[in-house]
Every structure is written in C-alpha cells, then in structure tokens.
C-alpha cells in the first residue's frame, strides 16, 4: 500500500468516526444528553472561551504539568546519571528506587494530601513522581548500554573524565534519555488529570468538575478533547526534538 493511501486511511478513520457520532446524535439514535455531539463540543469550547475560562484553565493545567515535570525530570536526570556512572551509587540507590517504582504512584495520593494539604503541592508532587521514574530508568540504562569498546577508544585517545562524559557518555545516552522524556511527559499529563480531580480551584480539571455538578456533558467532553489534543501536541514536540538532536541516530538506522 502506498504511503499516500496510508495517510488517507490514518486521517480518514477518526474523521468518519466523528461524522458518525454527529449523525447518530442528529438522527436521535444517541441521546444528546448522554454523549453530547461534535457540534455541542465546539459550542461548549466557544462558551468556555466567552466566559474567559478556556485559555486560563489550559494555562494553569499546563503550568502545573510543566513545573511537576521539571522537578521530577531534573531529579531523574541527576539520579539516572549518578547511578549510570557509578557502580557504588547503583549499589546504594538502585534497589530502593526500584522498590518505589513498583508502587503505583497514585496510591500515594492520600499520603500526599496529608503531607501537603489540598493546594498545589500535592498535585505537583504527583506529577513530579510520575516524571521521575521513566527518566531515571531510561537514562541509567542508556548510560550502561553504551558500547564498552568506546571506553577502550577513550583510553587510547587519552580522554579525561570530563571529555569522556561530554563526547562519549552523554551523547550516547541521549536517545535513551529522550525515550524517557516521552514516557515522563505522558505520565505527567496523566497524573495532571488525576491530580485535578481532587480539590482543584482552577485548571481544566476544575472546569470538568464544575461541568459535572451541572451535568454539562458537552463541557466535560470538550475538556477531554483538550486533554487529548495537548497530549498529542506534547508527543509531536518531543519527536521533533528527537529528530533534531540525534541526527546521527537517523543515519545509523538508515544503514
């Protein structure tokens, strides 16, 4: 099958589904107050914008996700590098960190609420937790996975520690790190949605809760659409960064 007809099918399937959804609601097969409709969703988005809720809520939610991701991600980079480079650090830290990893982090919500109250902190802590592990594990494994023959080369070329880190270790671990970043961003976004279900006073989650109180199906679905769109945009963004920063990787695979 040609690339072009592939693309048509890829785009066509969701378009057909949305049209079928609209048709089902318009013809009365699907009750409007159960599933809204594409037109209803667009209307709800317009109403949110009129009430000056759309962009501020999106901004608040994105800011939460960004702060949580930056905190969790930085810690992930720090510990991933440390444990990747040092066998001693691995001995001390890895088993403990792995033990925490198997614990579903949503299980910590009650604890986070007691520790941090019901403000922004527990939300950000949850997002940070979700961002930490994918980056930690992927970076640590990527550093360990670098071809050991390259360290012989480093010895022959008399690279010092810093040069080895800069020319061999870190660039070699970059593809692994970026895979971690993609998982971490997906995790951060998921955790944001969960975190905004408890006691939010702003953000998309808050809008959703409000809409639920008043049974505004269209608004709820509109918020789901927003969550999905942002999720897709983030993924596309990371792929673009990947393509830019690891040009060598693409040529390696094309071999």
């Amino acid at each position: 099958m040609s690339v072009r007809s592939d693309t048509i099918i890829r785009v066509g399937v969701p378009v057909v589904l949305v049209l079928a959804w609209q048709a089902a609601v318009s013809s009365g097969i699907l009750p409007d107050n159960y599933a809204s409709s594409p037109a209803g969703v667009v209307e709800a988005l317009a109403t949110l914008d009129e009430r000056n809720l759309l962009w501020p809520s999106l901004g608040t939610s994105l800011a939460r996700a960004a702060v949580g991701f930056l905190i969790g991600g930085s810690l992930g980079v720090f510990f991933g590098t440390l444990v990747g480079l040092s066998v001693r650090a691995e001995t001390v830290l890895d088993a403990t960190l792995q033990a925490f990893r198997v614990l579903p982090h949503f299980a910590l919500i009650p604890l986070l609420l007691i520790w941090f109250g019901i403000g922004e902190q527990p939300k950000i802590a949850l997002i940070a937790l979700a961002s930490f592990f994918p980056i930690y594990i992927n970076l640590y494994k990527a550093i360990r996975g670098i071809d050991p023959r390259l360290s012989e080369l480093a010895a022959i070329q008399k690279l010092d520690r810093w040069q080895t880190l800069r020319d061999i270790t870190l660039p070699g671990a970059l593809p692994g790190l970026l895979i971690g970043v993609r998982f971490a961003l997906a995790g951060a976004w998921l955790s944001l949605i969960v975190a905004e279900q408890f006691n939010a006073h702003s953000g998309i989650g808050f809008v959703t809760m409000q809409a639920r109180l008043f049974s505004q199906i269209s608004t709820i679905v509109a918020c789901l659409v927003l969550y999905a769109l942002v999720g897709i945009l983030i993924d596309v963004g990371v792929r673009l960064i990947e393509r830019r920063t690891i040009a060598w990787h693409a040529s390696e695979r094309a071999r």
Binding site: L150, E152, W248, R255
Partner: protein, 249 residues
C-alpha cells in the same frame, strides 16, 4: 655478539630509544596462560608484525602494550605517544568525521577542524570531513580511524588486525596506504595480523607466536616498495607458513 645482532637496528636507524620494551611478560586468564615469558623490543621507526593462529595471544599482547590490559607478571615500557587502530574502525557514531579525528584534542574548533582536514587529506577523505560515520563504507571508516591515530604524530602505532574486516581489494589498497603513511611519518608500528603476505609486505621484522610465546623471528630484508606479485617473497612466505604449522606444497 651483542644484542644488536639479535635485534638489528631498523632501517630508519637512529640512536633513539626503543618505543616498546616488553620483559618476561605473562598474562593469565584464570588457570590458562595466554602469554608466558614474552620478550619484545621495537626500535624507533621499526615495523614489526606478529602473526599466529587465532587464540595464540597476539591480540592480547597488543592490548597489553597499548595499556588496555594489565600483565599478570613482567614489565612493559612503551612510548607514551602511542596510538592504536582497532579491527573495527571504532568511530563514535554521534560525532561527525572531523570530530572523530580530533577526539580528545584540545583547542579551538576551527584549528581542530583544520588539523583534521590535513590528516584526512593524507588518507584521501578530505571531502568527507563533515559526514556522519554511518555514511562511510568499511574502508573509508578505517581510513578515518587511521587519520585519527596519526593526528598527534605518534612515535608508535599499534595495529590490531586493522584490515581484517575489509574485503580483499580494499585490504590491498589499505596495505599500500599504511606502507606510504609509515614511510612519510616514520612511526614505529606493531601489527597483529594472520595474513602472511601482509606481514611480509609491510614489516622489517616478523614474529610468530605459538604456545603463549614468540616462537620464531624473521627479518625481512627485501627492498621497498615491495610488490605482492614479486617471486622473491615466496621463500619467506613458505618459511612463515611452516612456522604456523601449515604444510604448503
């Protein structure tokens, strides 16, 4: 007679100190001695080849001289300017050609790139200076690794079967290239190979390893440049094959 007869001066003869001196070298892996009582001296500018069957410890010897392995017993003195060319070109995939060539070199990027251009021109790859390693053929990648090894003008070049992974025609071209580079730069070379012809074409002296030690030594006095079709290579070829335990009618 003095040691001069046992280890005659190389053709680039000088009073310079030897670039490699290995004494009573032993390397054990578990119970097994891969090298047992190896003595080796390489003079400045001398081209020495080590041949032997696979698993005879010749690569281990080279790695020990290169400092990539530690002897179980004995001493190794080596010229600190040494560089090593591996069998695989061992280019860093995420650095382009000139950054691979200048790996470990300090200085301004522009100066480093100029240095890379100079040695790349010597191996005929000046036009690939900005390319990614993955886009090079096997022979080209190995030429880049030669350029990298030569950049800092080492007095000693260790060659670990550097043509072993290349096709026959490319190998011939590479052998001619290394002969020319050695003539131009005058470095001493220690080449590990299992190609008898290659050893004869390039070397001043050929050592045969067997049973964890150096079992035979041949001086190659044939004039250079040597040609692989030259019938005067044959007696030495037969002698070496006999040393390797291969009866050749």
């Amino acid at each position: 007679m003095s040691a001069v007869v046992a280890f005659p001066r190389p053709r680039a003869a000088s009073d310079e100190a030897p670039v490699v001196e290995v004494r009573s070298l032993r390397r054990r892996f578990g119970e097994r001695s891969v090298l047992d009582g190896v003595e080796l001296t390489v003079g400045a500018g001398e081209f020495v080849s080590i041949i032997g069957k696979s698993g005879c410890g010749k690569s281990t010897l080279l790695r020990l001289v290169g400092g990539l392995d530690t002897p179980s017993e004995g001493t190794i003195r080596r010229d600190p300017s040494l560089n090593l060319v591996f069998q695989d070109a061992r280019l860093v995939p995420w650095r382009n050609v000139w950054r691979n060539v200048t790996l470990g070199l300090r200085g301004e990027p522009l100066q480093r790139r100029d240095g890379a251009r100079r040695v790349l021109a010597e191996v005929g790859l000046e036009d690939r200076i900005d390319d990614w390693p993955a886009t090079l053929s096997g022979g080209e990648a190995q030429r880049v690794s030669f350029a990298r090894a030569l950049l800092a003008e080492p007095r000693l070049l260790l060659l670990d079967e550097p043509f072993g992974a290349l096709d026959a025609l490319t190998r011939i071209r590479m052998q001619n290239l290394i002969a020319r580079l050695q003539r131009d730069h005058g470095f001493a070379a220690l080449l590990v190979t299992h190609d008898v012809e290659e050893a004869i074409l390039l070397s001043d002296r050929i050592l045969v390893t067997r049973d964890a030690r150096i079992a035979a030594e041949h001086h190659v006095t044939l004039p250079r440049p040597r040609h692989r079709t030259d019938p005067s290579l044959l007696p030495l070829k037969q002698a070496l094959l006999a040393d390797l335990g291969i009866a050749d009618a």
